[in-house]
């Protein structure tokens, strides 16, 4: 629900702004969880997966997932909101 505090003097609507903010916040929390202990502790103990070091496979896969998440969050608003 748009509230007065989310008002902005832009060409986007309040709803699209807050939706983008919420999606990005979700990706932020996801990244926070992925890149910090305790998950990091689990994957930081060494080992391999498919010939790759487990820690690096995990880090780069998570990183790619976060970038895709950011891309999807921004794109959705760009599509209906006119962000180029």
């Amino acid at each position: 629900m748009p509230t007065p505090s989310q008002k902005s003097g832009d060409d986007f609507t309040v709803v699209q702004y807050s939706r983008l903010t919420r999606r990005l916040a979700a990706v932020f929390v996801l990244a926070l969880v992925l890149f910090h202990p305790p998950l990091m502790t689990i994957f930081g103990q060494g080992g391999q997966i498919g010939g790759y070091p487990l820690l690096f496979a995990y880090l780069f896969a998570s990183w790619a997932a976060v970038v895709v998440g950011l891309f999807l969050a921004v794109r959705a608003v760009g599509r209906d909101g006119g962000v180029d």
């Binding site: 990005l24 990183w63 891309f71």
Partner: protein
Amino acid sequence: MAALTDGWLIPTAAIAYLSLLFGIAYVGDRRAEQGRSLINSPYVYALSIAVYCTSWTFYGSVGRAAQAGPQFLPIYIGPTLMAALWWVVLRKIVRIAKRNRITSIADFIGSRYGKSRLLGGLVTVIAIIGIVPYISLQLKAIAASYGALTGQALLEPQPLLTDSAFHVAVLLAVFSILFGTRHIDASEHHEGMVAAVAFESSVKLVAFLAVGVFVVYGLFDGFGDLFARAERHPEFARLFTLDGRAQISWVAVTLLSALVIVCLPRQFQVAVVENVDERHVAKAIWLFPAYLLAINVFVLPIALAGVLSLPAGSVHPDLYVLALPMVSGAESMALLVFLGGLSAGTGMVIVETVALSTMACNDLIMPLLLRWHWAGLGRRSDLSRLLLLIRRLTIVGVVMLGYFYERLIGQAFSLVGIGLMSFAAAAQFAPVLLGGIFWKGATRRGALAGLSAGFAVWAYTLLLPSLALSGWLPHTIVEHGPFGIALLRPQELFGMSGLDPISHALIWSMLANVGSYLLVSLFTEPTDIERVQAALFVDVFRPAGHSAQARAWRGTATVSDLVALVGRFVGIERTQSAFARYAQTHRLDLASLAQADADLVAFAERLLAGAIGAGSARVMLASVVKGETLGLSGVLEILDEAQQVIAYSRQLQAKSYELEKTSAELRAANERLQQLDRLKDDFINTVTHELRTPLTSIRSFSEILRDNPGLPMVQRQEFLGIVISESERLTRLVNQVLDLAKLEAGAVQWTITQVDMGAVVRAAIEATGSLFSDKRVALVARLPEQPLPIRGDRDRLIQVAINLLSNAVKFCPPEKGRVTVTLEREDDRIRLSIADNGPGIPDWAKDVVFEKFLQVGDTMTEKPQGTGLGLAICRHIVVHLGGRIWVESAAGQGACFRIELPALAPVAHGAAVA
């Protein structure tokens, strides 16, 4: 190696590459001047933010990975996390910076806390001290890569003039000056520089990916082969793990790099100051992390390849990227790597020194010059050259400081070690920056306390040990603490041991910084200007009714003073065109506007702030603006904590009030319609009545004449006279009814010219002369000699005067009657008064006499003396010409009709109609 090591190939390639960059920057600036911006693209914006990846990334990451495994990554994961918050944080900073024409992070922080010059200066000092090691890192990396290519040993310091690091420093200083300080831009945009930096970001990414592919697929058989070979060396296993202590460092560096991605002066420069479109931030949110991901994919593989294939100790791990292609004889690849590293290093140095020079000039040197040499500065007419000189000298100074730091201190550290130290310094800006845009209660003193405390702890825990380690201070300070007090050991402060120096310094400095910032802010009162700025920054997205900034200027200044003042710093031509644009968009005529209004003063302040920073701009402006600078009521208006809610409920209130008003208007309109309908009926009734009276008498007398042919001649003559005068009255009535109808319908053709009111009155007096003499009424005219010009329709005005004069005559007693006509000028109005000494008009009738068909007096007993339309017509004409008409009277003392019309300025040469 022969081709690379001897001859001029590498210096030539480097200079050719820098010249290409300069060409791009030149085109970028030209395109910006033509309004066809090269950098108006989210991709260019994201690439320019990638100036974040310096030599540290290009060379240092591999070195770090070879020694500490995953620890090279948090420096890029932090910004990735922060990017997710950019929509909330960076977009707000960008909006604030654009609104307030912020030129640097020092300007931003200084502006936020009441345009404090002290704070801006402090930020500048911290930035310069903190960033100099970082610049030295770039010089060191470029010189080392050059040395590696040419086979020169860099271990022992060379004499100054043959030291390649010195050559690099000179070259970079020259190019920074060329890129960043060719002219002073009021908006502090360097579009050419941004274009060049974006190009450099592409080059360093391509170069790094190319060398990565070359190493992984050229020297090895892909990732699988590389990792399988590393697996055979158990001593490398630690590179793939992250144990407990390393995790603390991981979290600390992630936090650190998340904070500095907007706080580093160069990041603030490209992400905020150089931003051309706020919407680019949205795309950069995923583009920039994607760039970071891409440039890091090959870091660990290259590091592994380095430790696997290069003999231990033969090459510093920081130079693996370059050494791997060189030992395999791939010289062109090595050259590409060198250019990539050069891109990373030069991009950083150019943007950083330009940002620092802007800060040093606007927030440190100008305020000092303004204070100490105000008289000398006041005499100079064009200060923009002085500004450029200051900036160029600052660039040279900063680069040279970087060089000497590298030469005297930096030898003892790895690239990443130096870089993290600078990060920790820049991170000190984060609390006051982020707090400043979200927390209105933060005060200037709180910010000063937080920054000073954080910086002091940083200097003690990081800078001091670095000086000690390089032998500039006794090493015992680090080992046993100053004066042997173990509790004060810089790297184990108050016994906090078991941490790496960066985490240790980050924890203590942030504790001191945030703690002092919060506590002092909570226990000090902000001044008026601080409150205004806090509201401007924190509420930047709130739609503003008035410009709060304009409200801060209550005094006045002349337009020419403003133009002259701004012109001295920005250049007079640029200033004039900026003012002209402002006048155009605000529909002002600057030539006729002597006093600048508050909005214009605020505009001038923003212009000036773009050139010399907000703090100095305010002081400069105060020198030409006279009067109270800030009204308390204005402040209170802005501040109210609950203002947003109030504003919202006010909006609702206004809406419902509007609704009420509309329905009331509707009701009124309806009533008016009904009234008009009644009036129309009344009008028709009255007109027919008025027509019937003369018609009846004409008919009666005509019948008498017809039926009595024997009437005496005298009587016939008398009756015929009555018939004629009644017919005349009828004609007059019909004419006036038509006249009034035309007036009311707006169908009258007005011939508006410049008219002399005196001439009008004289003409009317002449026309009514016979009335006065017939009734023997005296006429006293007091008309001024000089013309009294107004704009009006001459014939209509004469009609008004005649009407009033004949009215006056009508009500005067015969023989003793006396009518006084007075014409005078009162300020900007011209007043015509026509007074009689008749019976006067009772109070109740003073308004209604101007209504149609209303005649005062008992129409039953007295014979009506006019049509009752004259005054209604007069009122129509006078109101149409922008004047008013009224009557002053007391019963029995005569009536005085007065007209007021707006006067024109008297014309010197009597151009008025005679």
